[in-house]
Symmetry: T
Subunit: 155 residues, 12 copies
C-alpha cells in the first residue's frame, strides 16, 4: 500500500504529529459546539450572535482540513472520527436545549481561551521539530485570538 | 426566555422532531466519516475519490444545517454535540490509518445505503405529521441516492 | 384574446386558484408591512432588525411572483392591485410613525404565525386539487417557518 | 425613544416630507400596477412587454426605498402601508383579468406621464426647502422619463 | 460489473423506471424540436421567440439529465439514444424548412400541453411507488406549466 | 414569408449546406451518445470518465448551434429533428444498459476518429465554396482532435 | 520617431492596408448608423429591435478596434476620423427623425448585405497578401452574416 | 406613428434639445478622436497613454448614449450620423499617421478644455429650461474635468 | 511644471477650493475616528456597531478621494497630510482606550450632525461659484444624512 | 466593562503592544502621504505613478486594520487618532502643492526604506514576546520591501 | 501503451510536428526571457514595461500549451524540457543583472520580430500538410504581431 | 542606473540571494517537467493525473514569481534564463516521448521529495540571515509537501 515517506526525522514526526492530532480534535469539536449554539441560541441578540457563530464554524472547518492534511503530509494519519472527538475533547460542552445569547457569548469566549492556550503550547512544541507546521499553528492562533477578542468584548 | 411556539400539534411535533434528530446524527457523522476517508485514502484512484468525498461532505454539511434549523423551527431543540453523535451514530466506522481507495468506495456505498434506508423510513413517518419536513427528507434522499449510484458503480 | 387552457379540471382549478389568490394578498402585504417597519424602526437593535426585515421582504417578493405566475399558469388571473390588497388583507397593521425594535420583533413574529396558519390550510386544501401548487405552498411554508423561528427567539 | 433630529428647519421639513410621502405612494403603486400587468398580459408581444415591465418594477422598488429612507433621514416618518397606498393613490388602475399587450403599453405610458407631472412639481416644491431631496427627485424623474419614452414609442 | 442496488422494491422500481424513461424521451425530443424552431423560425417576432425557445431548450436539457440520473439511481438504465427517441417520441414534429413565428408559438403551446398531460400521469403513477421520483415530476411539471402559460398567451 | 438571401452563389451554397447538414447530424448524435455513456457507465474510473464525457457534450452542443446557425446564415435550413438524426447518423451506437468504463473510452475514441475523418472531408469540400464555413469546420476539427487525443491515450 | 517595421513585403502591405482601411470605415459607420436607429426607432417592436441594434453596435465596435490595430501592426496607419468616415462611407443613411421599426429592420438588413459583399472581396484580396488579416476578415464576415440572417427573417 | 409627448413646454424643449444635440456631436467626435490617437500613438509612454485614451473613449461612449436617449425622452430626435458629426464638430483634428505621445497629451488636454467650456454653457442654458437635463450636463462635466486634470499634468 | 488650468474664474475657484479643502479634512478625520471606534468598541452590541462603522469608513474614504480629485480638477491643491488634518479638524475626538457601544453610537451621531451642518454650508457657498462641485456636496450630504439617521435611532 | 484578557504575559504584552502601536502610526501616515502624492503629482509619468500609489494606499490600509486588531486581540488599545498620528509620525512629509513625478518616486522610496528599518526592529523585538505578532510583522515587511524595490528602480 | 493514431498521413504529420516543436521552443523561451526582463528591469518606465511583459508571458504560456497539445493530438510528442529549450532556442538572450527599460523594449521588439518571421514560415510550411495547425499558427502570429507593434512604437 | 539598496547586510544578502536563486531554478524546472508530463502522459488514469499536474504547474509558476521578486527586493538579480535553468537544474528529467501514468506519478513523487529536501536546507540557511525570506521558504515547503503527499499515495 502506497504511503507517505515523512520529510521529518522520526522523533520530530512523532511530536509534530501529536500536536496536529490535538489541534484536529480541538477544531472539529469547536465547529460542533459553535453549530450547536448557532441553532439553539435565544435572546434579543440572536441574529448578531447566530451569524457570528458561523464565522467561527467556517474558520474551524477550514483549519480542520489544513491541519489534517498537514498531518498526512508528514506521514502521520489524522483521526477525526466522532468517537475519537467525543472521547478526547476537553472543550466545555453546552447543555442541551435553548441557550441564552449572553451564555453563548461567555461559553465561546471561554472555549476560545482554552483552545488558544493549547495552540500556544503547540507553537512551542514544534519550534524545534518542524517550522512548517509551527507556521500553520501561528496562523491559526492569530485567527483564534481575533475571534477571542470579538467575543470577549461582548460579555 | 424566548422560545418557538410550534406550528405543529404536540404528537406531530414529537414524531417529526425525533425523525429530524435521527437525520441530524446521520448527517453529521457522514460528514466526519467522509472527511476521515478524504484524508487517509491511498491508492491509484486517490485524486478522483479524494475530491468526490468532498462533494459528500458538502452535501452532508448543507443538509445538517437545514435539518437542525427545521427542528428548531418546529420548536424542537436539535442536538449535534460530539458526545451525542458518537453515542447515537450507527454508521460503520473506518479503521484508523490509511484506507485503500477500493475500501473507501465500498465503505461509502454501504454507509449511504444504510442512511438512505433510514431516510425512507423518515419520509414514511412524517407523511401524516408534517408535509413540510417530509418534503425536506425527500429532497435529501434524492441527493443521497444520487451519490449512492455514483459510488455503487465504482465498486 | 389568447388565454391559458388550464391543466386542471374546473373545480380543482377554482379551489387552487382561490388558495393562490389568498397567498398572494398575504405575501404582498407582508412585504409592505416589513418595509414599513424597516424604515420606521428605532432602538438599540435597529441595524440588526432593519437588515433582517429586508430578508423577509426579499422572501415575500420572490414568492409573490411565483404564486401569481402559478395562478395564471393554471388559468386563473391573480389580483395584486393595491385596493385588493388593502381590502382583503387580515395582517395586523403597524401604527404610523416610529416603532420600537422590540415591538417590531413582536409584530413580525405574530404576523408570520398568522400567515403560516393560513398556508398550512392551503397545503391541506390543494392536497386533492393540485400537487404542483401544493408543493409550492410547502416550500413557502418552510421559508416562513424558518423566519418565524428567528423572530420568535428574539422576543 | 430615539428619533432623528431633522437637518432641516421645520417648514422646510414639512414641505419636503409631504413631497416625499407623495412620491412614496406613487412609486409603491407603480410597482403593484406594473406587476399586475406583468402577470396578466396577453398578446403576441407578451414576452417583450412582460420583461420590460419588470424593469419598471425594479426601478419603482429601488426608488421606493431611497425615497422612504430620505424621509426618515429628514425626520419624517414614511407611510407605505397597503391601506395608505390604496386610499391615496391616483394612478389609473387596470381591470382584473387578462389585459391585451397594446392596452398594457397604453396604460403604462399614461401612468408614467401622470407620475412624471407630479415629480416635476416636487422638484419645484423642494427648490427652496432641500436641495438634497430635490436632487433625488431629479434623478428619479430622469429614470421615469426614460421609461416613458420607451413605452410611448410602442403605442 | 458493478451496478446499482435499487432502493426500491422490484415492482415499484419497474413502474417508476418506466415513468422516468417516458419522461426522458419527452424531454430529449422537446429540446430537439425547440432547437429546430430556434434555427428555422421566421417572422417579425423572430428575436423574441428565438430567444424564448432557448429557455425551453435549457429547461429540457437540465431535466433530461436529472431524469436520466434519477433512473440509474433507482437501478434502471435510461435510454436516450437517437434511435430510441425517434421511435418512441409522440411529439408533433415541425416540417422541414422555415417556420413562421405564429406557427412556432402554436406548435410549442400544443407540444407543452401534451407533455404536461403525460407528466401529470407520471405524478399519479409514482404516488405509491416512489415519492422521491414523484417530487421530481412535480418540479418539472411546474416548470413546463409556466412555459405553457407564456406560450399560450402569445397565440 | 421573410427568408435569407444567401451570400453564396447557388452551387457553393448547395455544397456548403450539405456539409453543414452532415456536420449537424454528427454533432447532435455525438451529444446523445456521450450522454448515454455519461449515465450508464460503470467501473472504477466512473467519476473521471463520467465528467470527461460532459466536456464532450458541451463541445458537441455548442458547435451544433454554431453549425445550424451557419447553415441558415447561408440560406439553407438545418434539420436537427430526432427522426432525421436517427436515420442519417452513422455513429456506432452503444448497447442499452450499463457500459464498462474501458468500453466507453474505446467507443468514444472510435466515434471521434470517424467524425474527424468526415470533418476533414468537409474542410476540403468547402475550400472553394465558402472560406467562412471552412474556418468553422477547422475550428471544430481542432476541438474534436484534442478530445480524440485525450480519449486515445486512456485505452 | 518610433514606427512599426511591417512583417509584410511592400505590395502585400499596401493591398492589405487598403482592405483594412475600407473595413474600418464600414465598421465605424455601421456602429453610428445602428446607434442612430437604436435611439430613433418607433413602433410596436421597439424594445426587441432597440436591444438587437446594440448587439450590432457591440460587434461593430469590437471589430473596429481589432481592424485598426491590425492595420498598425502591419505598419499602416488607420484613419477613423469623423471627416474620413463621412466622406468615404457608402452605407445607406437613415433620414433624421423617428424611424418605424420595420424600416429599421429593412435598412439594417440591406446595410449588412452591402458590407458583407465588401468583406468577401477583402477575403479574396488578402488571400495572397496576408493570411493573418484574411483570417480576421473571415471571422468578421461570419459575425456579420449571422446578424444578416437574424435581421433578414424579420422583414 | 407613435412618438414621445415631451414633458417640457415647447421653448424649453427647443433650447434643451439643441444643447443635447451639441453635446452629442462633441461626445461622438471625442470618442473618434481618442480612438484615432489610441491606434496611432508612438513614443516611450505609448502603453500608459494608449490605455488612458480608452478610458476617455468609454466615458465618451457611455455619455453619448445617455445624452441621445435624454434627447428622445424630451421628444427631440438626436442625430448622430457620420455626416452630421463631421460637419458640425469643432474639435481640433489630429493629422493622419503616427502621433507622438506628447502631442497626443497636448491634443487631448486642449480638446477636453474646449468641450468643457461648451458643457458649462449648456449647464447655464438649461438652468431655466430643464433641471433634469442640466443635472446630466453637470455629471458629464465632472467626468470631463477629471480627465482634463489627468491629461493637463502630463504635459 | 505642468499644472491644471482651472475651468473656473479666480474668485469662484478660491471659494470652491476652500470648501473642498474643508470637506477633505472633515472626511479624512471621520475615517480615522470611525476606525478608532471600530477597533476599541466594547459592549453587547459590539459586532453590529463594529461592522456598521466600517460602512462609515468606506463612505468617508470614497468621498475623500472624490473631493480631493475635484479640488485638483479645478486647479487647487488638496492637503490631506496628517499634520493638516490634526490641526484643522474640529471633530469631537474619542478618548484613548475602550469605548462602550452606546458611547460610540452617541459620538458618531453627534459627529455626523456637525459634519452635515458644514456640508450644508458648503452647498450654499458653491451655489454661485461651481454647480459641479455643489452637486458633489449634495451627493455626500445625502450619504451622511442617511448614516446620521441610522445612528440617531440607536441612541 | 467587558475587555480582553491578554493571551500574553504582562511584559510580553507591553513590548508587543508598543511595537504594534508604532507600526500603526507608520502605516496610517504612509496611507496619508501616498494619497497626498496620488492627488498632487505632476509630470509625464503621472498616470503610472498615480495608480502605483494607490497600490501602496491599499497595502497600508489593509495592514493598518490588521495591526490595530492584533493590538486589541492581545489586550492593548490601538490609537489611530489624527492627533496621535501627526505627533508621533517620523515620516518625511511632502510639501503642499504639486509634486513632480520624480520627486514622488524619490520620496516614496525613501519613506519605505525608513519604515522597513523600523519593521525589521519590530521583528527582532517580538522574537521572544509573541511569535504570532512577529509573523504579521514579517508578512508586512515582505510587502513593503516588494514596493520598495519597485519604487527604487524607477529613480 | 496507448498512443494517438494521427489524423494526418505520415509526411504531413512529420512536417507539421516539426513546425509545432519549433514553435514550442520559441514560445517557452519567450516566456522565460520576458520573465527575466520582468524581474530585472530598471528605469523610469519600470512599472509600465514590467506589467506589459506579463501580458507577453501570459500569451506565451497560453500558446505553449495549445501548441504542445496540438502536437500530441496529431500523434507527435512535444519536447519542452529545459535542456531542449536551452539547446535549440535561437532567441537573443539578455545579460544577467539589471536591464534598463529602453534596452528591454528594444530586446523584446527584436525578439518578437524574429519569432514572427519563423511563425510566418510555419504558416507556409503547413499550408499543404494540415490546415488545422496552420490556423493555430495564424492565430498566434496575429497575437505576436500585435505585441510587436506595441513594443516597436516605444523604441 | 537605478538599483535596489538591500535591506540586508552584505553577507546575509549573499547567503539569502543564493538560496533564492537555487529555489528559482528548482521551481522553473519543476514547471517545465510537470508540463512535459502533462502533455505526454498516457494510461487509464490520464485525465486525473493530467489535470493534477497543472496544479503543480500553477504552484511552481506562482512561487517562481514570488521567489524572483523577493531576490530583487533584497538587491540580488534573479537569473531564470533557459541556459541557466538547463545547466544548474538537478531535477530528474523524463525521457522524450510518451510516459505511462504510473511512471509520471513515481517521477513527480521523487522530484518533489528532492526539491523539498533542498527547501528545508534553505529554511535552515536563512534562519539567521533573513526571516522574511525564510517565511516564504516555509510557505513554499508547505505547498510542496502537500503535493508530495498526494502523489505519494498514488504510487
Amino acid at each position: 500500500m502506497a504511503t507517505v515517506k515523512s520529510p521529518l526525522p522520526e522523533t520530530a514526526q512523532k511530536i509534530t504529529g501529536e500536536a496536529l492530532q490535538g489541534a484536529l480534535v480541538d477544531l472539529i469539536d469547536l465547529s460542533l459546539v459553535a453549530k450547536q449554539a448557532h441553532w439553539n441560541i435565544t435572546g434579543r441578540l440572536f441574529k448578531q450572535v447566530h451569524e457570528h457563530l458561523d464565522e467561527v464554524v467556517d474558520l474551524a472547518r477550514e483549519y480542520t482540513d489544513t491541519v489534517a492534511e498537514r498531518a498526512v503530509a508528514i506521514g502521520t494519519n489524522p483521526d477525526g472520527r466522532s468517537r475519537t472527538v467525543a472521547d478526547r475533547t476537553t472543550l466545555p460542552q453546552p447543555d442541551a436545549g435553548y441557550i441564552a445569547d449572553d451564555k453563548v457569548v461567555a461559553l465561546v469566549t471561554d472555549t476560545l481561551a482554552q483552545i488558544i492556550g493549547r495552540f500556544r503550547e503547540r507553537i512551542a512544541a514544534t519550534d524545534e521539530t518542524d517550522q512548517v507546521t509551527q507556521d500553520l499553528f501561528i496562523e491559526i492562533t492569530a485567527a483564534l485570538e481575533k475571534q477571542h477578542w470579538m467575543f470577549s468584548v461582548q460579555n
